[in-house]
Amino acid sequence: MNCKDFESMIHEIVSRRAADKTKQLEALEHAGHCLWCALRLDEETKLTESLQGFARTLYVQRAPARVEEALVQAFRERTLGAAAPRFVLAAKRLWRRLSWGLVFAATVAAAWLVVLRTSSVHLRSSAPPRQVASNPPLASSEPSPAKQEQPFVPGQSERQVKAQSQGVQSQVAARSSDEPGAPPSRNRNPGASVLDHRQPDSGAQAASQGRAERAALDESANEVTTDFIPLGTCDDSECMDEAMLVRVTLPADALLAFGLPMDNDYATEELVQADVALGSDGVPLAIRFVN
């Protein structure tokens, strides 16, 4: 063994960790005749003794008892917290899922309500009354009774439909031919319905309108009418689809002009009521008399 080998295992020698006893004896023998290695061994031995002395002074050192108490307490809490509430954890998980489901259902319901409301508003706003769209001449002709008389004149002279402008009190009771069940208010007063469409209903207007509708219904239930008598301007039934009725008042002898009998009780000054079916262009298509 030389000094290098001795140096490499000096720590094992002084700490008695050397596994190979033969090498340990060789190292000690080398230190016996090598002054430098003997000094080195002496230094290392003293250092080891000092370190061991220092370690012995600390050997009794322990963590205070309060540390153990705190740790045992923490261990108990941890153990109880981990073992007990498995079902609590499961319940929490279930509740979390349920709450998510409830939130989802509420969102879907709210979206559905919004869609329904939007679609109803859209339908109400995008579906204007057909009569209003098809009756601009009537609405514009309403203010002047003389103008109401005009549609009967062209092409009707041979039928001698004469409306006396003085006696004619046009009761505009338009009634759509393809909407017999529609509210009478629209049929009776298209102009008003135009206004109703353009302006929001007030409470008073709605009440008066309701009364007028009920009166019109009662009145129409008591009426007796003749069949429609075509005026020759409509050869097919399609033109009658968009026709609207206008209630007019005519002299009683107009009955004779259409080949209907006239009671002698009727004086020539008497007036009779008739419904005139007007086309979309304002041309009278047919007429019927109302009793």
Binding site: H11, L58, L71, V72, F75
Partner: protein, 207 residues
């Protein structure tokens, strides 16, 4: 609990994981001294050693699944955690407190026996020597200090020390050798290690 003291650490850990409080207490009492002393010797601070000991076992309570038996013993695993915490605290504080009585007689920490009435001079000399050793150890660089504290003060095997320090056995031996050389130099007083090494240069002797 008397029977538990003969059970190995790994078995105690498994029992502890099953909620056995006695197993935890046994494991704590078995390992807390080494951890406390390791931190005390590394830092010289008893409060820090107390804090680190508590932290190590709290971490074991919180998550004991982190221990891998294939990587070393449970004692080495706990010492490794203690080292990690201690280094973190030391880097944060960078202040070492002496655990030995100071020159003015006050003590920072530790429980020291009174001077022996038979030979007070010898006892005082011994304490002086211990104080010097303590100061020399605390003045070592951390990686040398770790090796000296583990292998020389706590008599940890090279293999366990390598596991604690996360390095090879050869590195542990090298650090220990270098650390001891530095200690000798410091205890000799002011002499440079290089000069000391030259004085005992192995190449001088080929016999």
């Amino acid at each position: 609990m008397a029977g538990l003291t003969e059970i190995r650490d790994e078995q105690l850990l498994r029992m502890m994981q099953g909620g056995d409080e006695d197993a935890f207490t046994t494991l704590y009492r078995r390992r807390q001294g080494g951890i406390y002393r390791f931190v005390l010797e590394m830092s010289g601070s008893a409060p820090l050693a107390e804090d680190v000991t508590q932290e190590v076992f709290m971490a074991l309570i919180r998550d004991s699944r982190g221990y891998d038996p294939s990587r070393g013993s449970l004692g080495a695993y706990l010492l490794g955690m203690a080292r990690h915490h201690a280094l973190r605290f030391l880097k944060r504080d960078r202040t070492y407190v002496s655990i030995l009585p100071t020159r003015d007689g006050s003590r920072d920490s530790g429980d020291f026996t009174p001077l022996s009435p038979e030979n007070p001079h010898s006892e005082m000399s011994r304490r002086e020597s211990i104080h010097l050793v303590q100061q020399a150890i605390l003045s070592l660089p951390e990686h040398y200090r770790e090796a000296v504290v583990l292998c020389d003060l706590n008599e940890t095997s090279y293999e366990d020390a390598a596991s604690v320090l996360g390095c090879s056995v050869g590195t542990v031996r090298s650090r220990l050798h270098r650390g001891r050389a530095l200690l000798i130099q410091k205890l000799r007083g002011g002499e440079k290690v290089e000069a000391g090494n030259k004085a005992i240069d192995p190449s001088r002797c080929l016999a």
